[in-house]
Symmetry: C2
Subunit: 149 residues, 2 copies
DNA sequence: TCGTATGGTTTCAATTTGAAACCATCGTCT
DNA sequence: AGACGATGGTTTCAAATTGAAACCATACGA
């Protein structure tokens, strides 16, 4: 499962997470988990992927501490898969992915699901990246800086 | 390259983008492009991946309109690969990935590159998702709603 | 006790990946 | 002109991954 590390011996801040969730299915499983799915069968039905693959992906998510198994919930003798704190940390990544999809993968008039604020029922705003002083910044306004400097 | 569609005939707002950039390398190429890399050889050296794979990934990024080739820049007879508007739209997704990585993939004292505001030189804030009324909202505060409702 | 629902593992063919070798074009040096 | 290196790929082929289907195991209810 662990892909080869990049030619540098230490993986950068983007590559390292990709090793954990860098495949098609894992993120979809996490998204379904955010939507409340918990059971092996639920994930399989929702995603329509082969059971062996789902099994492998869940194992990988468990190994990376993104999900964990909990013994039961409704009394059934099975275990359930739930997001850990680390897994819940993927929320904004999923939102970013969804918003990018809305921007570029749907026709303007094409219907698609909306992420809405529970309290108001209104759609959420776009994700915003701000500088310390509160300015919204984009790619042009930022750069990466090496550790020590 | 096009993976099988989920069991539903129409891919959801998260799955559709994943079809375009849902593999390990593509996002790393895009990240390098944000860092100013443009040439085939630069990407290959930076990422250390096989040339045939890089070739296939670039072709895929071009096909999805995430990158495009431009004839030249410094007069050399080669083409260069640059991000399109759609590609630049991935900025916040990369930031989300990076911030998640910082949160969970590095020891607290482990050095890592920082994304800083060019103007001030200070690290940027965390990505924020807000409701219409300006409240910062998390996963618990949101839900997805079907198109028409 | 038989059937069924759930949650997997095993098997095996097909696809994808990736390392290495090869090829093509351009510019330069002699 | 001819040799040569740099750049940007494609081809080849073995190894790893994927995925569909079959199989297995356990719990439960009729």
């Amino acid at each position: 499962m662990a892909k080869r590390v990049s030619h540098r011996d230490s993986m950068c801040g983007v590559a390292r997470p990709l090793d954990a969730i860098g495949d098609w299915w894992s993120l979809l499983i996490v998204r379904d988990a955010f939507d409340g799915l918990r059971r092996f069968g639920e994930f399989q039905k929702s995603l329509g992927l082969a059971k062996n693959i789902l099994s492998a992906r869940l194992r990988n998510l468990l190994a990376h501490g993104i999900m964990e198994t909990v013994p039961a919930a409704d009394g059934s003798p099975y275990q359930e898969y739930v997001l850990t704190e680390k897994g819940r940390g993927l929320f904004r990544l999923l939102v970013a992915l969804r918003q990018w999809g809305e921007d570029f993968f749907f026709e303007p008039d094409e219907a698609h699901v909306l992420l809405v604020d529970r309290k108001s029922g209104l759609p959420v705003r776009r994700l915003e990246l701000r500088a310390q002083d509160g300015r919204v910044v984009g790619a042009e306004d930022t750069m990466v800086r090496l550790p020590s400097a």
